[in-house]
Amino acid sequence: MTNPKTIAEPQGECELLVTREFAAPRELVFRTWTEREHLMNWWGPRTWPLDYCTVDLRVGGAWHYRMRGPNGEEAWGKGIYKEIARPERLAYDDYFSDADGSENPPAMFLAVDFEDRGGRTLLRSKATFASREHREQVLAMGMVEGLSESLDRLDEHIEAAVAGAAGGAA
């Protein structure tokens, strides 16, 4: 049995909750989420680190960043702060973005709770979609992505079938 450190669970129709515990006090964990220098050091998968980031930490302010992929690809993101309650809670609207700082839909609302666990911190990040339709839209986007992977497999399958038929005829 695997015991993943990060747990993701759909909640109701419009929410997705991600939880993880960190061996650090919550004041510090909160800062790693809200200060540019810290974010540059950890945000994004290892193969997609940040190489640009600005932070304007106030309600209505934004954090805007660029992740850089292994082949030089760019992925821009932008968050608009909705609630800042140091050190227990941070909430923001999360958008896809670009170099100009556009806010591209669909947005998700993310509420991150930092729970004190006696020197450790339980982090709960809850993504909320605007509606069931919105969630379905995001899920359908995931399906399209999955579909293109499946189509690649279909191509392979057909190639194999054609090669098999040619082999049989020879």
Partner: protein, 119 residues
């Protein structure tokens, strides 16, 4: 699965309305009427889409003549699960990095033996 069946599946999935119907069914079974509601489509138009999905084995329908609820068939629609898993993995990879980074910050603090401003 044969190539013909695969083609059937993929052409069924290529239509955005049918994908939206599947996404709706991912949340639980539904009647034709319930499925038609968000699309502003007539019942016969939705029924036509459902037939395509049924032929592609993406959904199954109840036997009850009055209320033939449509159900998503788990295979080959693992994509929803896959999507949640991709979301989880994105965070998992970031959080592994955050884990390491927090260790590093805290060990630096110990080394210097003075309260450090983490900036």
């Amino acid at each position: 699965m044969t190539t013909d069946q695969l083609s059937l599946t993929f052409s069924a999935l290529a239509d955005p309305t049918r994908r939206a119907i599947l996404a709706r069914l991912a949340g639980g079974e539904a009647s034709v009427k319930e499925l038609a509601a968000p699309f502003k489509m007539t019942l016969p138009a939705v029924s036509k889409h459902l037939k395509v999905l049924e032929r592609a084995k993406l959904i199954s329908r109840g036997r009850d003549a009055q209320w033939r609820p449509c159900r998503l068939r788990a295979e080959p629609l693992r994509e929803v699960d896959d999507w949640v898993e991709r979301y989880r993995q994105f965070w998992d990879e970031s959080f592994d990095r955050l884990d390491d980074y927090l260790m590093e910050l805290q060990s630096k603090e110990k080394d210097h033996d003075e309260p450090k401003d983490y900036r």
